[in-house]
Symmetry: D3
Subunit: 283 residues, 6 copies
Amino acid sequence: MNHLASQPYQFMGADSPIEEAQWVMVGLPYDGTCSYRPGTRFGPNAIREASWGLELYSPFLDKSLENIRYADWGDLELPFGNREAVLTRIRESAEDILKNQKHWIGLGGEHLVTLPVIEAYLKKYPDLCVVHFDAHADLREDYLGERFSHATVMRRIVDLIGPSRLLQIGIRSGPKSEFEWMNQNRTLLSAPSELKKRLDDWKDRPIFLTVDLDVLDPSIFPGTGTPEPGGMSFLDLQNWLSCLQQSHIVGFDALELSPHYDPSGVSNIVAAKVIRECLLLTL
Amino acid sequence: MNHLASQPYQFMGADSPIEEAQWVMVGLPYDGTCSYRPGTRFGPNAIREASWGLELYSPFLDKSLENIRYADWGDLELPFGNREAVLTRIRESAEDILKNQKHWIGLGGEHLVTLPVIEAYLKKYPDLCVVHFDAHADLREDYLGERFSHATVMRRIVDLIGPSRLLQIGIRSGPKSEFEWMNQNRTLLSAPSELKKRLDDWKDRPIFLTVDLDVLDPSIFPGTGTPEPGGMSFLDLQNWLSCLQQSHIVGFDALELSPHYDPSGVSNIVAAKVIRECLLLTL
Amino acid sequence: MNHLASQPYQFMGADSPIEEAQWVMVGLPYDGTCSYRPGTRFGPNAIREASWGLELYSPFLDKSLENIRYADWGDLELPFGNREAVLTRIRESAEDILKNQKHWIGLGGEHLVTLPVIEAYLKKYPDLCVVHFDAHADLREDYLGERFSHATVMRRIVDLIGPSRLLQIGIRSGPKSEFEWMNQNRTLLSAPSELKKRLDDWKDRPIFLTVDLDVLDPSIFPGTGTPEPGGMSFLDLQNWLSCLQQSHIVGFDALELSPHYDPSGVSNIVAAKVIRECLLLTL
Amino acid sequence: MNHLASQPYQFMGADSPIEEAQWVMVGLPYDGTCSYRPGTRFGPNAIREASWGLELYSPFLDKSLENIRYADWGDLELPFGNREAVLTRIRESAEDILKNQKHWIGLGGEHLVTLPVIEAYLKKYPDLCVVHFDAHADLREDYLGERFSHATVMRRIVDLIGPSRLLQIGIRSGPKSEFEWMNQNRTLLSAPSELKKRLDDWKDRPIFLTVDLDVLDPSIFPGTGTPEPGGMSFLDLQNWLSCLQQSHIVGFDALELSPHYDPSGVSNIVAAKVIRECLLLTL
Amino acid sequence: MNHLASQPYQFMGADSPIEEAQWVMVGLPYDGTCSYRPGTRFGPNAIREASWGLELYSPFLDKSLENIRYADWGDLELPFGNREAVLTRIRESAEDILKNQKHWIGLGGEHLVTLPVIEAYLKKYPDLCVVHFDAHADLREDYLGERFSHATVMRRIVDLIGPSRLLQIGIRSGPKSEFEWMNQNRTLLSAPSELKKRLDDWKDRPIFLTVDLDVLDPSIFPGTGTPEPGGMSFLDLQNWLSCLQQSHIVGFDALELSPHYDPSGVSNIVAAKVIRECLLLTL
Amino acid sequence: MNHLASQPYQFMGADSPIEEAQWVMVGLPYDGTCSYRPGTRFGPNAIREASWGLELYSPFLDKSLENIRYADWGDLELPFGNREAVLTRIRESAEDILKNQKHWIGLGGEHLVTLPVIEAYLKKYPDLCVVHFDAHADLREDYLGERFSHATVMRRIVDLIGPSRLLQIGIRSGPKSEFEWMNQNRTLLSAPSELKKRLDDWKDRPIFLTVDLDVLDPSIFPGTGTPEPGGMSFLDLQNWLSCLQQSHIVGFDALELSPHYDPSGVSNIVAAKVIRECLLLTL
């Protein structure tokens, strides 16, 4: 039985044997609920399916995925309803990938899944910096009494790396206190030129890029749980991302796709294209 | 400012002052997740909105809501992400309503919300019996390690009342062990005539009726998280329910409407009509 | 320029020149509102488009449209916001068709459009009888103060023909008074056998058949403004309709398709198939 | 029975007792039709539901709803099919609110509902000026013979206040005559800077702000009856609105949300956010 | 890198190594078009994704998938726009599976994909019989001049096996000639009892079961290209299928799911459940 | 029977008798598949229906359709599954129109339909130039082995006219080789100013304008088979198109609308408005 005769279900072009891949995609179908069906849990497979409508080559970056070795590891099986176990499992998977000298590509899934990945990365890259695209600051100390939620994830990450190693882009919703914190800590950027300047200081630092896709305007990305009008266009995002071309990106994720809210399927394609562009940034 | 000049947002016809109402509707927008948006959390308001397309009179039962005093209490504010607090709050609300000599109508929300209501009822009605419509037995001892979930709720209720005070209708999905348990305990009924006979023994017993709306076939009720093909038609359900006309129903709920999955809005109307029929059963 | 080279937009098979047609379809895109877009206004074209997915032959009736000469007249242009003018225009069109010895097929549009057609028919067929399929009795004396609305249309028709020349099928929603009226006047039928018996008395009488498609269960016909759970299946409707095979049908309409509420498009196909079956009844 | 234990269904944060509120939201579920279901009639509740996904604080304006006392009065009950009675009822409600020294926030519903509000305002504020955002000029003398429709509403308002007290923004569709009228009367503005200059002359004048949400591009606001491509982005609208920060806004409305046309729910969120921003302008 | 740590994307429970599997699922994403996106091409993955909401155990058949060894081979890569090559590839894959003493489970995809599978089976099982569920007879000699299409597939199969080895169930649409052919050849069955009787004659014959899912009523299966009102319910289908419990099924397929037409996702679940039931029939 | 009493189903305002029309619209419901339903096949009628929500006057161009004589010829009947016959039929129809001194307006349908039209035009206008809006270059030599597909259509056209008579706008997806070809042949433009300059050289040349509507960003045009994020806004497109005001446009088409993917209907309106703007360019 020749397995190669059939097309496995994975991100387009991800046909490196996992042993030879430099980058490894991992689906994180978590949406913090024990019920079958709603939400970001269906994000990873929607991304994979949509990816087949894209080309390997990006004319914007003039680079092609043909020149990267990447694999698709499938989805982690996550024990819904037991957040602790979920976080542990993700952290261990990230450690496994890093131990094998590979880089992590997280397909979300809600934003909380980034926290255990950062924990794993900090063991290997103690001076890790984080670039964070999002509509929401996610900097609450707690959310309705919960310290670990997709509304607090960046605060938990700041607990680990401090505010000076965080850059935030696109934030346009939150309580006043979050905006005061961002102003005080100078984490929030308002133009690509500013990002370029700040990245100049991080030339040799390892960078983790975390993209909550709701940073995009809901006109182009309606398929998400908390769409926030007033965001950037896809071209804006490409311009922001291209600032990272000289940076040393060691891992990234793209999160919060909730495919059922967009019957046109455009949001799925957007998510897949963001991942293609991010992966090409590392070339 | 005459408040009566404007129409409050509530279930149609629910214009009794709450003090004079015999029955009180309570929205339970719980879906076990801390994220905004997906799922059954939007059920209660979808039911209210759809109810305005219905008549007060049911030709099937030849009874009218004009002859019942009922109020709509609005939704409980439920602290997402803290299941314990959610269950406590629902239980206390049910106790409050029972203490005031009123009857509970729960608008779901997921099925777990029935458990604290049963706990409250048992204090007032220690011999309470439960009639349970559902596609799924919900009898698991635990679900992915969780003892309190919408997949275990009936087992938790059985822990309180024993199997002899439970009747189940419409169950058509579950592991083999659940069906063995139901056979062994004779809880699962297969025809309305059987239900009538069993209810004869419960003539003077207080009955709580819990309707997981996915007992209906997904053709008529697609708007739910785990649709299970092969269910009953709306007319079938009306026939089953009409067996309860002589019973002493002291409370009921209708659950698991997830309105976003049915763009036609039919599921919302179905849920509202089930509630109308159940309420008329008590007349 | 050979016009025959292109396919005109019309009901499938409706290629008789209008002069030779025995039956003429007329679109009635009325939904009682002056705003562009929502509702039954889009019904007629949705029916036409869906009809092309059907066969000319009905295995249920063992008859084929190939043996009927029918044309599609397009839509009437109806002055929205001026109900009087709308009713006048429809009546005049129906008179025009009858004067030319043809039969009317109305594609709705809301149910009120049947009234002016009946007025026109009564001039030619003073002893006209009406068979009415609907979920709603439409027998109110007035609706929110309005005497002419889709909720009063059958009462206005009864004003013209009296209750003894009306048969009603499928009614399952309305205030108690409507059901009392139907019981008193014996207009409401409960089984096809009953219909057959009643039609025996009308063997030589001209019959107008008016089908509010919401008589069907919303599982098979969700695309309508006021879906009412508990209706008949498509097969049930075919069985009811087949009782009319020996009757002298002189006109009919199919109403209340609101295509935007059913993204699957099934409701459009159902409406088109009902029209095919009704037209074949006349063969 | 403590009513405060349950969350009433209202716009987020609208928890001032109505007696203490400075601003009062009124739902106007009118779409000019007597049929249940389609259209803008469902706008007000969709706005309320979506509002709970927003924050009280606007980083764009750096202001928070915590500093405004506002209440949600619910929906007016409007006698469909009797336009005169609808207009009268809205006018009387607006008069009631103004008499109580409060300000009107209209949640549409179609644009015609603005006319009776302006009539009420003119009694209290004889020198009222109107700022009008819209894709359509709504300046027709009549529409298909009707003088009172959502396509003529601004012309009727001009009949009351004259063209010099009207400013129009975003208009991009209409017959040539409307554009000639706007050019002649200099009501149509093309840039925020122009608006600022014009508002300088109105520093002490009371201003009513009426926002037909279809002024936005359909990419970000598809949920409306007559989407017109080529409109402004959400950020554009925020920039236009911010010109009114120094103005004396005494009332406003946001109109023409038709939620069923946007299954993603983004349009509902957009409408709610526009209302938040408008209300914050008054701070 | 432990591949077992991640959940591959496949039909639920299909975790036999392919070498040990008795049954092998093959996705056939063909819809006869060279364009990305529309149609049944997305069927196989929609089935896989939906399958995870089902249980392994069928209470209807009282059998469980735990007792079958089956694998999911993924999708065949099919050269769109070259029908000949598509058919060849499918035939070779089926031959490969049969050569390895395994059984074929085809996940459609349009109905034409059954033809090459039958060709492969006939080499191994020269006396193969076919049981065909469908709304359409698919017996045309050609369709718009094409001899190989999803409207002619059963005629091509009859060319190979003759009419006496074909049974057809659920057919309700087609030209008169197809129904005449079926009557003449006695292929069309009208009740499960009839099927049982006919199968008695085939006790020892190998049977291929081909299920065009549009045999179901569009109320429960709207997600298909040519929905035909008047079909069977899911329970009806289960009753029909259960007649095959004693038969020697050597292969089967389930076809014509077009997931984009059913935003509720119910059709996907139906397709997955049909496959579970068919597979359990072989136990 | 006065046919004028009813409104034929056609593009708004297209009421010139075909003999007097200068421009003739032709629907091309082709999507390369023999199956009923999916795809661009439904484009032409969706455009017609949506057109009735538009005005005849364009404020952007300050021109009105009242000043153009145009007719709507309906749809060509295209033999699905026989690409050769489809292309021949379109070519002959275009020749027919040109022979009658009229101009072609193609309503797509997939992009391949442009090829036979260009072939017809070249006979009458041997020096024809082509302006091509698209997200995809469509310049492949072949696609999965096929030389004639919507992914190769522009290459086939270049075979006829050479690269120097082609201008391309909006291309943002394709393999690297296509971008190299465009750079080498200077066909790809990046700003309207560039287009103006290039058109200056073509002042007296006949121009065919072909608009693949996916040149627009999927935020405003989600209803298409291969949406590609990062495209132009509707206003951008209007600006590009207005460069052609002085050009000698002799024919145009608008393609690749796939209406089922956009339940809001906005894409249909966009397509209709693009056609209005293109037609006004010729004034």
